[in-house]
């Protein structure tokens, strides 16, 4: 136990994460986003999200690691719709991480907020603490109507009843890219080598993903855009997702 506590102290030391090579970051340009939801299906396909059925939707038990939120402004005829893709913000100061009694959710060295499924005991505290409402609980063990299960991505585990799940920034794709880099004797993956499913699919190229510790990465440059902001900034969660606000002409 003592080593565990020591490690935890070490992890919480300011600057600890600076020693590592990566800080995965995403930018989402709302001036490009059209709310088409291609990313939602891409995520469902990549990460083996269950088909929950109409009844579960009615009970708000759907599981979508990324969703499009929609907000109306004004009234007819001067009405506008604002879309914003909402997914785990991979906060550097994540409220969910402090909440978990079994350390099933923690911050890894790449700046990811990760979830260890077989450590999770399903208290659902993290979901309560998350201000972005992006954690999803498996109330049931979902099954797929045969032969839909043949589509399941073998790189991603299928979750069971009693486990919390959420966006991983497609950690399986990050792992593959790192492996490839290692095989090529490169210290770091190249910019653009890791593309999460949602970013890959986006028809308007609204999303960018990369390592913000690399000042030359596209995402690092995009983060500095004057339209950049983080959602619910006042909560000081320090999200890893920077949104670029829509331009109102």
């Amino acid at each position: 136990m003592s080593t565990f506590v020591e490690k935890l102290r070490q992890y919480s030391k300011p600057g600890y994460y600076d020693e590592f090579d990566y800080h995965w970051t995403m930018t989402i340009d709302l001036d490009r986003c059209t709310g088409c939801e291609a990313c939602v299906v891409a995520c469902q396909a990549e990460n083996n999200l269950p088909i929950v059925g109409e009844e579960r939707f009615a009970q708000s038990r759907e599981i979508k690691w990324i969703r499009i939120e929609r907000y109306w402004e004004g009234e007819y005829p001067n009405i506008k719709m604002g879309f914003i893709p909402m997914l785990c913000q991979h906060c550097d100061d994540a409220p969910c991480e402090t909440a978990c009694p079994v350390y099933a959710t923690y911050h890894n060295q790449d700046g990811l907020n990760t979830q260890i499924y077989n450590r999770c005991i399903g208290t659902r505290t993290c979901a309560v603490y998350c201000p972005y409402e992006v954690r999803y609980f498996n109330w049931f063990t979902y099954t797929w109507d045969e032969p839909l299960e043949q589509q399941l991505n073998p790189d991603v585990s299928v979750r069971e009843k009693g486990v919390m799940e959420k966006c991983t920034f497609c950690i399986q794709r990050i792992r593959i890219a790192k492996d490839n880099a290692k095989d090529d004797d490169r210290r770091r993956v190249r910019d653009g080598e890791v593309v999460p499913a949602c970013v890959q699919s986006c028809p308007t190229e609204a999303m960018l993903f990369g390592n913000s510790k690399d000042p030359e990465a596209k995402v690092s440059k995009m983060m500095k855009n004057t339209r950049g902001y983080t959602v619910l900034k006042d909560l000081n969660t320090t999200p890893s997702i920077v949104y670029l606000k829509k331009v109102h002409a």
Binding site: T34, C36, E62, A197, L232, A249
Partner: protein, 748 residues
Amino acid sequence: MSKISRRDLLQYIGAGGIGVAGGVLYGEGVQRKVELLIPQVIPPEDYSPGVATWYNTVCNQCSAGCGISVRIREGKAKKIEGNPVHPVSRGRLCARGQAGLNVLYNPDRIRTPLQRADRGSENTAEISWDDALTTIGSRIGRLKIEGNAGRIRLLTGRTRGHLDELFAQFMNLLGSEHYQQYDFTYPSALAAANKTSFGTDVLPYYDIENADFLLSFGADYLGTWLSPVHYSRAYGNLRQGRQGQRGKTVQVEPRMSLSGAAADEWIAARPGTEGLLALGIAHVLVSSGSYTGNDRDEWSSALQAYSPSMVSAETEVSEDTIVRIAEEFGASTASLAIAGGATAAGTNAVASIVAVNALNHLAGNLGKPGGVILNSAQTFPAAAGSSPAGLQGALDLVAAMQAGDVEVLLVHDTNPVFSLPDNVGFRQAMENVPLIIALSSFHDETTVMADFILPTNTYLESWGDDVPDPGVGFPVTSLSQPVVAPLYDTLPVGDIILSLARQIGGELPIHMPWASMEEFIKDRWREEFDERMSEGQDQNFEAFWQAVLEAGVWGQPGAAAGGQPESSSSPTIAAIADPVSKFAGDETDYPFVLHPYLTATFLDGRGANLPWLQELPDPMTSVVYGSWAELNPVTADELGIEEGDVLEIESPAGSIRVPAFIFPAIRPGVVAVPIGQGHTSYGRYASDRGVNPIHIVATLMDKQSGDLAWAATRVKITNTGERLRIVKTDGVTRTLGRQILGPGNDHG
């Protein structure tokens, strides 16, 4: 083809980057059910567990023709992404395209040939391919010998490339002229209008990417219009792809679509008057002196009547707005006007689109970057491809069926019983046809009327080629290949036609000697290759073929496009004389205008059997698994209607019952119902869910193109007093000062 075992088959499938399996897919080896105790003791060549292979092919979920890459692991398809080298999709893909895996692995697929004794019932009996093909072949063969081949009809969905040629050739050799297509989403009116405006009905390339000012009349280019993935990418770049320059978009439509939500300005003109609005803008362009062409006087007199004040009174768009938009449109370097959706679905559809095309002419953006760029008619693969014939074609077919002129009806990849109004009576007319054969993968409403069901491979298990329509400004042909071995005892549709040709005999197998669709396509590509290659060049067709298969696409960037559009003013001016749509139903009896709209998920209903799409919240309302009727909040308030109140929506042609949804971005006096749900038979995910608004559309048509005027029906609404919960994911739809959309973009 000799017998092959399943193990051999898997070896072929796993063999390298190219799906060479297609040639061996046809044959008994596939159809025999073989269970292996230990699969792949000797693994197929180039097959490594844990290593994914990507195969390039073509998406078939709508008519855009996006190139896709499918990720295969251990012989199973895992994910579909856009093909990065394909000029239509450029590596991106929409929700519907990605849900193609739900087509392939759908639990409700038809797995064997079936025979049905009782039309309309779900009771079917399994039958062998041999029996089915022999029975059907002899029946068709007899008609041919008797000289009654004209009584054979082939109805398909939108079909392009060599499959189209195969269908046409098959029907020609039989001696029947009755091969026709029906696709609810095919823009017949747009093609007819462009013929008038530009002298060609080949759909042009609308260069949204480079436009400064995009004025869309009803065209939901981000969701359902022509080529949504391509235009979405173009939209992204219009907004933020150019340094220091952000294009502006304006959307004219009665109910806010995805494109309306993205637009800087959304204008809900009175339904049916969108063409008139375009003429009002044209009037200002000419009268303000912004247009300086030689034929200025002709335009001036033709547009004389459409002054902003007159147009404003009719369209209920303010004069200031009309003048301002005209000025911006005229002043922008690259302004572009497009028309689609409800604007292209009135009784004056062609006139409205021609009026919109006139704006492009008057702003001088034809053939320029950011304007309308013509595509040339491609000679390969299909010289003169067929096009869907709209409502008129369907009515002709129904009349022939009713008159007893149709003895055999072959249906493939189209569902007219669902996507035509009830008044057309397609289903009833089918009762008069002695033999109906469906070549289909699913039990949809048309397939359940068939006596024989010949199950087809899905597009992910088939060979094919395709010319994207609209094209991208230069010649492009895509090649599709099977990415997995067929799951069931099914055949590619081309192979079924070729087998039937062999069964019928006579000159058919002489002129159609190919064993399979793959062989046919490859043969044709070889001919084309030999023709194009000059003597001195290295004539290695196999290398070329492999390269195209790997890329999934063959194109000639930089080759001549369709040339400068010749926009002569006189036919255009003659065509715009009828700028306002007529409606079925009297305004006093039917006070509301019905606005059925295509959704990006289900399109004309074909996507409703895919669980990922049923579970995808509607982009504008967040509703899942059902239908709803959108009403303006003020209208709903006046009528005392709340969300979930079941409304009876009655048109002169019929009625539907659907729960109300209060939608803030719809014009008062309009009720919008999404198309796609309301299937009575389409598998477990789609059946008995929601309503189909197409069924109550009156059978008015656009006079010039014969296209169904699906936005020209009036309805009345009665609150039945019943309630039905609308299942949706949204809670609060206002930001309430939380700055969620960004600082300064939040007005609560």
